[in-house]
Amino acid sequence: MMDELSTNKTAHTLYELNNAIKSAITRAFPEAYWVMAEIADLKCNQRGHCYLELVEKVDDKTVAQTKATIWAYEYRKLSHKFLAATNESIRPGMKIMLLAVVNFHELYGFSLNIRDIDPTYTLGEMARKRKEVIERLRKEGLLELNKGLPLPLVPQRIAVISSPTAAGYGDFFNQLDTNRYGYKFVHVLFPALVQGQDAEGSIIEALRKIGKYRHLFDVAVIIRGGGSAVDLNCFDNYALAAQIAGCPLPVITGIGHEKDDTVADIVAHTRMKTPTAVAEFLVSGLRSFEDNVMDKRNRIKTYTTRLLQDIRYRLYSLARQLGYIPGQAVSARLNKLIFLQGSLRNFATQRLQKVSYTLDRIEQALRLLDPVNVLRRGYSITRHDGKILKDASLVGKGAAIDTTLYKGKIVSTIGIQRRTRNHEQERAACLLPGFDGAGADNQ
């Protein structure tokens, strides 16, 4: 063909040329080929046809670039498949492996028509990129930085990063504000886009602002509605992760996805699956604080009650001892006294009885000896010249004698004297020994 063109020097139409190129290319690349490329741009028209700009970069420098197309019918099929496998939609910046037919069109020129995309390659690419980001964060000491911040005892003042239009946004505030314990939270929204191209920069900006107001808040929360799991890629990017790591407040994420943690989740202080879960976490934080306080209160109450009981008991027993011991002492002494009194009485009685007995005997003896009693028994006392007469020979005839009887006295004159026998005289004398004087005195 070339030979024809050069020898005949006949000019060809552009169409003829392009058509020739098309035939040559079709001949040279008869099959479909697997190609690795990065999507630089992607646009779909109203009919659903998709037009891409594919590039290959080496050290951020573009070394190859080609237009590509995915026809509407293919695109619907492929984008579904891709999303299901990667949780991401096909978008610029992504590296894909595509099955392409090399195409040259007389009017539109060179392009690749994409027939298939292998999501596993993209998954691998994403994982590799993610791993690189994590490794970089680790090296820079950012991976555990936010986790190192202490979570306040009562996370009550909350800076929220979200989009008011995001699903789950309402649920989050609803759950916080109507918690069953009646806790009040202070929450301030720092609006940001949480999906799409501009999400990363928008969230970073919100985090910066929160950093400025760090003294007003206890925690920062990034929430994004649950349900849709697409377009999470911004949460795997280094810049956002680094911003979260460096946030002066503990960051809690509720990005709402089921897949493996995003890098944002990894560097965050606490990772929750959904906005609702974040709200629950915050409520439970306050709850556990209150439980703790009530537990302390009960401990103090129990301990104090016990202590007071102890003291009361001690006081009571002390009081009882004080009341009891003197009583005991007194009653012991009293008993002794009573005993002493008793024995004293017995002793006295005995002594008295003994004395009185002796006295009785003495009295009796005395009574027996009393001259009156002697006289009573019929004896009499005779006196002469005032002296008791014991010997008849001492008085002569005609002498006067007094005789004292039990009752009365007789004065008589002696007529006849008769001698009594000696022994009778002695017996009479013995009868009242020593009583001669005394008996005379008694009269």
Partner: protein, 70 residues
């Protein structure tokens, strides 16, 4: 936490009854304070809002100033 301190004081030390009464009174006050703080945040809201509003006004002024240059 002051409550913890009170507990350790009354549980480990031999407290006089009068001192105990004082500490229990303080503990009751603290518990009440905690419960109140958990359920009332109006003051805190006002404070935060006031501060942020002042700042955001400044921000918007700055933004307006910047705009012609951009």
């Amino acid at each position: 936490m002051e409550l913890e301190q009170i507990i350790s004081e009354i549980e480990t030390e031999d407290v006089d009854v009068d001192v105990l009464a004082g500490k229990v009174k303080r503990a009751v006050l603290l518990v009440k304070l905690c419960k109140t703080r958990l359920r009332n945040a109006e003051e805190e809201v006002k404070k935060i809002m006031a501060e942020i509003e002042v700042d955001s006004n400044e921000d918007s002024e700055l933004a307006e100033d910047d705009e012609p240059a951009v």
